[in-house]
């Protein structure tokens, strides 16, 4: 029996739960200097002067660098299509563009002395008007980057049309035949990713070779950037991502803070390191989301949805990064699980004097789901139809796959109605509605809301291959090298299971090497829920090839036909079919293979992305006197195809649900009108805790994808994508009988209380 599909405990957890693993900050680096960046306290200002002499005299300070010292080209822009005039300099060159922008780097023999030195760098600023509000940034005469001549970073579809990527769309009468068209403005607010481990970086040079340690989700791409920046040969750069404590998308790219460490190290000819504080991380690690959405949804009174329009303003922050590109992902999933034939989409990504936005758990897809799921609920309310029923009427049928949506996205496979049925049944939907009716009748202060969401998302969406290698060692154990870069996902266990499944070598005897570009020749990394269906498949196929090679070898040794060789996985020995008494072990085969060894490498490129889906129901209790929301139940049906390890998949769902709930209820990265971050620590920023969450009711569903041999889709982001609108819908549902139609996220007490007051006409 295969080990796949079993709830195997994670091998890596013992160290994480005891000694804590080895993170960048733990890497010993003799004689290393410490870097502390002096950051701008102003959102937008011209730098008149920077006075560094006192800092240089401060005990232990080795050097202080400002923009004029740097002889290195800036990092390539993180946003495709970005205006080059918006490229981020290493250190602010004349103008600071957000609170946290780096102005100087103070280098000292200890971190403490670097912090003291940084306090003695005096910067004279001339205040400029900040651009804080994304919704008006495109027309704001104040420019974040004067040389760019505009605050617009990327316009869709215009910029794609002019780049020749797509055609001008034909004019359609979007709402032809609609009895009802509803409109709603929604804010998908900016959030802080808050990984448990903040960013850290270390660098050392030896004989022209650079070794760089980074808290990254994609070490090979960091290596490519370093090779390019320092004009080195690939074999002169080694990037190591040791244990990494979470990333959520925000650690995909290399940040200037991290890569600049290599420049400092070379310049002063000493190893160098940097680690940020939590406040620094909240303020300057890329933020997520940040969309303002204007949506229109039209359909008939009997519940057929016909036309959908979404217009987005995306806040890219001061130096456009992947955040500027998020609307492309939002458009990809525009109509979700619904068969809506006419659509219109446009977006405008803008620069503002705030921290740049990047990918964050779901990256553009949660924004799409939040918009359509809210609109479907508002539409249901408008025509007086149960939201579950309206959804059912418009779901793409399971017989329609592969299905190409109105925006041209082709979904691999799905059974959305079954997911909906399962979640309704698990929740006891009819009884919940009855209980809600009774509560409403009683006029109870605490009202009950039932929120639904049916979602589909795209995983492994970026074309390309991922590397996986399997090698059997002399002692009969196995070693995997993978291009994925786990930072909490459990690849060490999952990849070992894939090898155990093929080779029979037990999970505990399979070593998994990742996150070191010298040990793993190629790799893409871990993001976008891609790892199992790319890197995992590569490992699976490499293991298959190792077994094939082994069978040939056994056939040679036993003078038999390779087709007659069998692997007894339980005893880890090969034999000729029918004669189990003569066997060869893995160790014997490795010895027999001589210098060639027994190994295989695979670069697996999936023929396309996969589209996990599911349905969530959230039951909320809303205190109508105070606006406080508490969650009573979260019921989640998630289908990520075939599950290799349901325990790990469930963990991903749990984390995803928590993060989705957090965005819907609590989290928001706020700036005041001068561009000062006002939620840049964990006291002010309402990071969710276990106490605010009910026990999760998860119900896995497995519809294998035909896209890859494992039948697996991604699971890392689904929980977040499905749960966020379910929570928001539950909050609004609790209040809909009071006349409340929409409450923006996060649905904080003051927002809920104000919405009730407004609905009562009591402003």
């Amino acid at each position: 029996m295969s080990i796949l599909g079993n709830r195997v405990l994670r091998k890596e957890d013992q160290k994480f739960l005891t000694t804590g693993g080895t993170y960048v900050e733990d890497v010993p680096l003799e004689g290393a200097v410490h870097i502390v960046y002096v950051r701008s306290p102003m959102a937008h200002a011209r730098i008149r002067s920077i006075e560094t002499s006192e800092a240089l005299e401060s005990p232990g300070v080795v050097a202080v660098f400002t923009a004029q010292d740097i002889d290195l080209d800036p990092m390539p822009p993180g946003a495709p299509f970005a205006n080059r005039a918006m490229t981020r300099p290493w250190l602010a060159d004349g103008v600071v563009r957000f609170v946290g922008d780096m102005v100087a780097a103070v280098v000292a023999d200890t971190r403490e002395r670097a912090v003291d030195g940084a306090e003695l760098v005096f910067v004279d600023y001339e205040t400029l008007t900040p651009v804080v509000d994304a919704s008006t940034a495109a027309d704001n005469p104040t420019l974040v980057h004067e040389d760019a001549g505009t605050n617009v970073v990327l316009r869709l579809p215009d910029d794609f049309v002019s780049a020749g990527i797509e055609q001008v769309a034909a004019e359609v009468d979007l709402f032809e035949g609609c009895d009802v068209v509803i409109r709603q403005r929604m804010v998908n607010q900016r959030v802080a990713p808050c990984p448990l481990e903040v960013r850290a970086s270390a660098a050392k040079w030896e004989d022209g070779h650079l070794t760089q340690w980074s808290t990254t989700q994609a070490p090979h791409s960091v290596k490519d950037t370093l090779v390019q920046l320092f004009e080195l040969q690939p074999d002169q750069v080694r990037v190591i991502a040791p244990d990494v404590g979470g990333g959520f998308g925000a650690k995909i790219g290399g940040y200037p803070e991290e890569l600049f460490v290599a420049w400092v190290s070379r310049r002063i000819d000493r190893p160098a390191r940097w680690v940020e504080t939590r406040s620094e991380s909240m303020m300057t690690l890329g933020h997520g989301r940040g969309q303002i959405q204007e949506a229109e949804l039209g359909g008939t009174r009997d519940g057929k949805l016909l036309g959908y329009k979404l217009t987005i303003t995306q806040d890219a922050g001061a130096y456009p990064n992947f955040g500027a590109f998020l609307p492309v992902m939002t458009r990809l999933m525009l109509t979700g699980v619904y068969d809506i034939t006419k659509t219109e989409f446009s977006s405008c990504s803008v620069a503002t004097n705030t921290n740049p936005t990047v990918a964050y758990r779901g990256a553009g897809r949660p924004e799409a789901t939040a918009a359509i799921e809210r609109m479907v609920d508002i539409f249901a309310d408008e025509i007086g139809m149960d939201p579950a029923e309206l959804r059912r009427k418009n779901l793409i049928g399971k017989e329609c796959f592969p299905f190409t949506t109105a925006v041209g996205t082709t979904y691999d496979i799905g059974d959305y109605e079954q997911a909906l049925d399962r979640v309704l049944e698990a929740a006891g939907y009819a009884e919940l509605r009855e209980e809600q009716r009774q509560r409403r009748d009683s006029g109870d202060t605490k009202q009950m809301g039932i929120g639904l969401s049916t979602y589909v998302e795209v995983t492994n969406g970026i074309p390309g291959s991922e590397f996986g290698a399997v090698e059997v060692l002399a002692d009969g154990k196995a070693r995997v090298r993978t291009g994925t870069s786990p930072h909490g996902q459990g690849h060490v266990t999952a990849w070992a299971m894939l090898v155990a499944d093929q080779l029979g070598i037990p999970v505990e005897d399979v070593e998994v090497i990742h996150g070191d570009t010298d040990e793993v020749p190629r790799g893409v990394g871990t993001f976008g829920s891609k790892s199992l269906q790319s890197g995992g498949v590569a490992v699976h196929q490499a293991a298959e090839r190792v077994v094939e090679k082994a069978k040939k070898l056994v056939a040679d040794l036993l003078e038999a036909n390779p087709n007659d060789i069998e692997l007894d996985k339980e005893n880890r020995r090969f034999h000729v079919a029918g004669t189990p008494s003569v066997t060869k072990s893995w160790a014997e085969l490795v010895e027999a293979s001589g210098d060639a060894g027994l190994s295989a490498e695979v670069d697996f490129a999936a023929p396309g992305p996969t589209f996990p889906f599911g349905a969530h129901i959230v039951v909320a209790e809303v205190d109508t006197e105070t606006g406080h929301v508490s969650l009573e139940r979260i019921i989640a049906v998630d289908d990520a195809g075939r599950l290799m390890n349901p325990l790990i998949a469930e963990g991903q769902v749990h984390g995803g649900l928590a993060q989705g709930v957090a965005q819907a209820l609590m989290e928001e990265m706020c700036y005041d009108d001068q561009g000062n971050p006002i939620t840049a620590n964990l006291a002010d920023y309402a990071f969710v805790s276990a106490a605010e969450l009910p026990s999760f009711e998860t119900h896995p569903m497995e519809t294998p994808t035909p896209i890859n041999p494992l039948g697996a889709k991604g699971i890392g982001e689904s929980g977040t994508i499905g749960s966020t609108p379910a929570v928001q819908n539950a909050v609004v549902d609790a209040l809909s009988h009071l006349g409340v139609r929409h409450v923006d996220m996060p649905t904080t007490p003051i927002r809920v209380w104000s919405a009730i007051k407004e609905a009562k006409g009591d402003r």
Binding site: R278, T626, C670, T679, A683, A686, S689, A691, P749, I750
Partner: protein
């Protein structure tokens, strides 16, 4: 998150602590649980040049049942206040309030004296001691001084303690017949957006409000209304009387006043009024 350099003195006795405070004056700060002071120092918002650590003065950690009141040593941890049988029996409001502070780790480190002396208007215990008409005992070079809770809190993070005084004991009256602490938070471990402490002690009802002013305040209009026979609901309508709370990301002044009224009503009802 690295404080400015400072000197550290470990006090082996209360007298040593007072001597150190007398020597260094304003430059010195007492370190007990450290849960308010150390974050301020790490953010360099607080820069004392000397820390006088009283964490090992076990003589300051006690709960005693005196004749008409209970006495709690300033160094008693929140966790111990929460679970102490004397407190639970004689001043259950304090136990309930202590159990709502932060999270278990905070409650095992933070001290009642530290919380009161830090005088954060958003903290829970100051409001509770105020509602209970407690008395604070401070010891300085000249000996002990008793300060009524109503005279202790002077302003934001400011008390009437002299620089060389150490808060040593908190006294609250026995005879509670009803109590409630209504803490309105978004997350369980947060500071109160608004908090209301209610204590019925020996026939008198004390009501105090947390995080609606620069200090915890008594809801005197509510107390007077109750004394003249108003119902809990009617009395609670007076809760925002004279309040001018500030606004922040969690609440506008208007919302804070509204919460003060709602939570006061709920608190009075829970206290049996």
């Amino acid at each position: 998150m690295i404080p400015v350099a400072f000197d550290y003195v470990r006090a082996e006795s209360l007298d040593e602590a007072i001597a150190a405070l007398s020597e260094h004056g304003d430059e010195a700060k007492l370190l007990a649980g450290g849960h308010s002071l150390l974050p301020l120092m790490k953010l360099r918002l607080g820069t004392p040049s000397v820390l006088v650590d009283i964490g090992r003065l076990s003589e300051l950690s006690f709960v005693r049942d005196e004749d008409t009141y209970i006495a709690i040593g300033a160094l008693t941890r929140h966790h111990d206040v929460q679970h102490d049988t004397i407190v639970l029996r004689e001043a259950p409001l304090l136990a309930a309030v202590a159990g709502r502070i932060g999270d278990p780790q905070v409650r095992h480190r933070g001290t009642i004296g530290g919380s009161l002396a830090h005088a954060d208007p958003a903290s829970d215990l100051p409001g509770a001691v105020l509602a209970l008409d407690g008395t604070l005992v401070a010891r300085g070079p000249a000996g002990d001084r008793e300060i009524p809770a109503s005279e202790f809190f002077k302003g934001f993070l400011e008390t009437t303690l002299a620089p060389s005084e150490v808060l040593v004991e908190i006294r609250v009256p026995k005879g509670t017949t009803g109590h409630s602490y209504q803490k309105f938070v978004r997350r369980s471990q947060d500071w109160a957006i608004v908090g209301v402490a209610v204590a019925r002690v020996n026939g008198h009802v004390g009501v105090s409000l947390v995080n609606v002013a620069s200090t915890p305040v008594r809801a005197t209009a509510v107390e007077q209304a109750l004394a003249s026979g108003a119902s809990a609901a009617d009395a609670a309508e007076q809760a925002a009387e004279g309040l001018e709370p500030t606004g922040d990301a969690n609440a506008t002044p208007e919302f804070r006043r509204h919460l003060a009224r709602v939570l006061t009503r709920r608190g009075l009802v829970e206290a049996g009024l």
